[in-house]
Amino acid sequence: MNHQTRVYDNVFELLPNEQNPSPLVRINRMNPVPEFALYAKLEWMNPFGSVKDRAAWTMLQDLEHRGELGNGRGIVEPTSGNTGISLAAMARARGFHMRAVVPNKVPLEKKVLLKIAGAQLDVVSDELCPAPGLGDGSINIAKTHAKASRDKYAMPNQYENEKNVEAHFQTTGPEIWRQTEGKITHLFVSLGTCGTVTGTSRFLRSKNPNVKVIAVQPTEGHDVPGLRNVTQLGVSKLFDSSLVDDIVEVEFRLAYSRAMELCQTEGLLAGPSSGLIYEGAREIILRDKAGCGVMIFPDNIFKYTSNMMKHIPGLASGNQA
């Protein structure tokens, strides 16, 4: 492994850590307060394409080290896409099979990518009529496989696995601290499993208790893949509200239009969750005026062309001769 020449013995050596951090890129034309340094951490530069590489690798390594995998036993995981893509590609490269239980609303691109990455796909309909406190259909189906077919499946369970938090405590947090030379004042994140917000914030707060953590969430009824509104957080056991200073709610359609702007103005091919986080960050820096902010951009736009066509006028037309 040589991070200077970037020659590696296997793809796993490319995974991010303090010595090999994902890039931090300053926002220029879209920063409304230039005195407030605003950076995007480009998680799509990770080898399997998203921030989920971190949790997936830590959870998979943990299962391997504990002897939970092998002899025909692979993994099953409920996923809205990115965790599944990372886990499937990693598991297959390590010689294990992977079954992904996916909510129906996940974009087609991600479902196909999961199959390409080597997952066996189980598409389940979401709740027929949500009841407070009850888990998603996909989580329960995955848990059922893990319980009824123990010889075939171990379940990493990103929603409850502390290794998800630990991954960010060990990598994302230290990377940001080092990359900003300890100057970070604001961390901007979205909420999904909450591994990112909890692990990264815990590390940064251990270095500087005054770092502000801002969670950005889409309005209820949203269709931004991978994200949760606080009302949907019951499924995650990893959310620690004591670490979050502000929860900014952003009209979910802005996730798509801001992603488009980031692509066309900053040259950052950011996905909709990044667009949402950018909008939340914009509102806070207009309020706080000075500081050094880091936005964690979970993935890029490539998996979301169908969602973008739904929300951005003009993308769906003029594509045929």
């Binding site: 027929l128 009529c129 009841a131 009850l134 329960n140 189906i141 848990k143 059922t144 496989h145 077919s149």
Partner: protein, 281 residues
């Protein structure tokens, strides 16, 4: 479970675990489809598919007595057996099955409190993918209690007001007509809103966060005191396709002991499509 009017119709997961394999005890998982059952189920449970096995596949109707006898007998269930039902989606479809078992006069049928999700999340409970192959028996339905079912003439009678409680168990947005059906549902209607005079009491009002039923005192307080269901009147529960309302029908009739409660399985997908039927929004 003390103080429910009919506590014998509800069993806890621990009771099921302790009684698994006992002669005369039959378990049936009823799901909207059998994907969840196929992934894993309570050991010895057979699986019924609500869409294809509890519905007539030609006209819109419950299965008739012949089909019921064939289905239940084919699952190795005798009229004298204790039947434990449970299922996905918080036991909605299991409650519908319970309603069907009662229509056809099965003596001892019970719901497993909390359904498959509760069983799934309890570490001491096992699940299996093994599908039992029971020897078929001859099952003869002992009754045809169609008085448990509301048909459109009674619904029209009820919406005139005065003599009936009408309970709409759908979500508030369906009740007000903001949406006609929950997102993504294929069964829908031409119009949104609710049947005039109906009280909005969403099905989830009856359960705790873990999906088990609230206590009798809580249920009485909610349905009778707060929402004004009059226990001395006849009652009709409805939803969109009759499965969520089966759940509330079970609560009103068996847990609270209200005498004449009917499930309107035609529900909004029938009523909201009728020409000239009065609608409130």
């Amino acid at each position: 479970m003390a103080n429910y009017a009919n506590p014998e119709v509800l069993v806890e997961t621990d009771w099921v675990k302790a009684n698994l394999g006992k002669p005369g005890l039959k378990l049936v998982e009823i799901d909207v489809d059998t994907k969840a059952y196929d992934a894993g189920h309570v050991p010895s449970a057979v699986g019924f598919n609500w869409q294809t096995q509890l519905q007539d596949q030609v006209r819109r109707d419950i299965i008739g007595p012949d089909a019921f006898e064939k289905l239940v007998g084919g699952a190795g269930i005798s009229p004298s057996d204790i039947v434990i039902l449970y299922g996905d989606n918080n036991n909605w479809f299991a409650a519908y099955g319970f309603w069907l078992f009662k229509i056809y006069g099965h003596n001892d049928v019970r719901l497993m409190n909390g359904g498959r999700v509760k069983w799934l999340n309890e570490p001491d409970k096992q699940m299996t993918t093994e599908v039992p192959k029971p020897a078929p028996v001859t099952y003869k339905a002992s009754a045809n209690h169609l008085d448990l079912r509301a048909l459109i003439p009674q619904v029209f009678e009820a919406q005139k007001g005065g003599k009936w409680n009408l309970v709409d168990v759908r979500s508030p947005d369906e009740f007000t007509g903001k949406v006609i059906a929950p997102p993504g549902m294929s069964e829908t209607a031409q119009r949104g809103g609710h049947i005039p005079g109906a009280k909005s009491i969403p099905w989830s009002t009856a359960v705790k966060p873990d999906g088990t039923f609230k206590s009798a005192d809580e249920l009485r307080s909610i349905y009778l005191d707060q929402k004004g269901v009059d226990p001395n009147k006849d009652t009709i529960a409805y939803c969109r396709i009759g499965e969520r309302s089966s759940h509330t029908w079970f609560v009103l009739k068996y847990l609270l002991g209200i005498k004449n409660v009917k499930n309107y399985d035609g529900s909004w997908t029938e009523y909201g499509n009728l020409i000239a039927a009065p609608i409130e929004k």
